[in-house]
Symmetry: C2
Subunit: 302 residues, 2 copies
């Protein structure tokens, strides 16, 4: 069991602005905080974050950078906004007094060195090593998303309380699941919703949550990842690493995102707006119900 | 004089998609390419880029990561998409056969090491060292933007040919300038427009172009930076490093972006849509013309 602090920061601030009429207006804007991660007292990275889910962000960062193989290596994550730091303590240090840097120094150092030279995606995160492993990634094949499920999921997102609606300037990600063999009136279930100033952070925070709570996604359920951000190569790779076969976005996609998703057999649905959407790959997981394109949306449930 | 290859890549691809009616549609999507930067044959970083302006992206990356103090240290940048690489050769290597890594190894190594632990902003780029230098940054105080100039600039952006309009999934940045003491009918002049899959890359490509062509921005002209992306701390810092005092965005801003801009005395204008906008800081550089909020836009010029 990993011990996590619970240090979400207030996420919205109010500032003064002047509009086009020359009038002063109190305006809500999103928070952004520096958070420096220390693994066994050694500085790893400084992330700029909304601060809504910092402990899971740390976990997901370690996972997606592939610095640690399992959350079981971690004893605790303590976020302290006074010092803008997250102290990640390994079990090795907590139990044997031996930091991970001493215990496995060569492999961790190597991964960090590799990280230096392969950060990618708008200058984002690790990329190099991942490409080599793509061939070993096999996404679940079971389960299908009905058009009604997709529209319902988008409708849930539209009605979800969010920083974005108040203050803008953040990206949102959400994890849904649905039974492989759903009842006719069953709806996609929202498992986790995270917003952050960077879309990488929002994805990482979901990845961290999954690492702890669903290290092996239930094979009897179809997992669907929703993001407000664009579907770039990195988004496809991170989703694949989480074992998620269906990726849904309000935004568009890049050619490399499309190429990777096609090679992985991932279902990529982009440009979702109202009842419109485009399926770019993996249409075998989608059950078209074109009549729904003409009809009013199913009402959001209780 | 730096020798640059001219290797822009085709930026839009057409793929098949299926819409909500179950109909196949040919859809344009933005390119995304890995580009690995080598400085004097040593691997620096892999960026994911649209590839529209790779040589200036390299230059801007070196500048904004503060790896090199001046473009005069560089002899040539050769981009080769066959190998997805950019070979950056220093003058030191070209003239004396001595790579920068040998000539100034300790300082470059230090900066790279620091980079490893301080990448920030949605896990983006260098941050740590910059904060220390903020106190030494002084933005130009001369020049004002009239409301008509702002609306004109936004109108120019709306009519500018762009990948975004064709394929979405990219961010655009533009550099404008305007005389300190403009004629009544003078309009902001577009100096450079760059799109990329990551907003950091688009900013860096503009920074690279400025480094070579306007290392010291003309003090008789006001420079304005436009971005489709959000105004985060990193965007404010990079603009300040370029000596740009006015930052305009279609999107919102974060609290730290606001805080830094306020401390720097930078003019921050966000949430620009049609004739709407909000000025968040530095309103001393803005000449309000509230009558324009009610009236039709000035027509775009020839």
């Amino acid at each position: 069991m990993v011990t996590l602090s619970q240090c979400a920061r207030p996420a919205v601030f109010e500032v003064d602005s002047i509009d086009e009429h020359g009038q002063h207006r109190a305006t809500a804007i999103a928070g952004e905080h520096a958070l420096t991660l220390y693994l066994d007292k050694r500085e790893l990275v400084t992330l700029m974050t909304l601060g809504a889910d910092p402990e899971y962000l740390c976990l997901g960062y370690l996972r997606n950078q592939r610095l640690l193989a399992s959350p079981e290596l971690i004893d605790s994550i303590q976020v302290d906004w006074e010092t803008s730091s997250a102290a990640i303590t390994s079990r090795s240090l907590a139990q044997r007094g031996l930091s991970l840097w001493e215990a496995e120094s060569s492999s961790l150092e190597q991964q960090l060195a590799h990280r230096t030279v392969t950060t990618g995606c708008g200058q984002g995160t690790v990329f190099g090593g991942l490409m080599d492993d793509l061939a070993n990634l096999h996404l679940p094949e079971k389960g299908q998303l009905r058009q009604a499920d997709l529209l319902d999921l988008l409708e849930q997102m539209r009605h979800h309380d969010s920083i974005y609606r108040t203050a803008g300037a953040v990206h949102g990600c959400a994890l849904f699941d649905l039974a492989i063999d759903p009842a006719p009136d069953e709806r996609p279930r929202l498992l986790r919703f995270v917003e952050d100033v960077g879309r990488h952070n929002a994805v990482d925070a979901i990845a961290g949550w999954m690492w702890l709570h669903q290290p092996r996604p239930d094979p009897q359920r179809l997992h669907i990842f929703y993001t407000t951000g664009r579907l770039t190569s990195e988004m496809v790779i991170k989703s694949a690493q989480m074992g998620i076969a269906v990726l849904v976005s309000r935004s568009g996609l890049t050619h490399m995102g499309h190429d990777l998703a096609t090679r992985l057999g991932m279902t990529l649905i982009g440009r979702c707006q109202g009842r419109h959407f485009l399926i770019f790959s993996g249409s075998q997981r989608f059950i078209a119900e074109p009549a729904l394109a003409q009809h009013p949306l199913r009402q959001p449930g209780p």
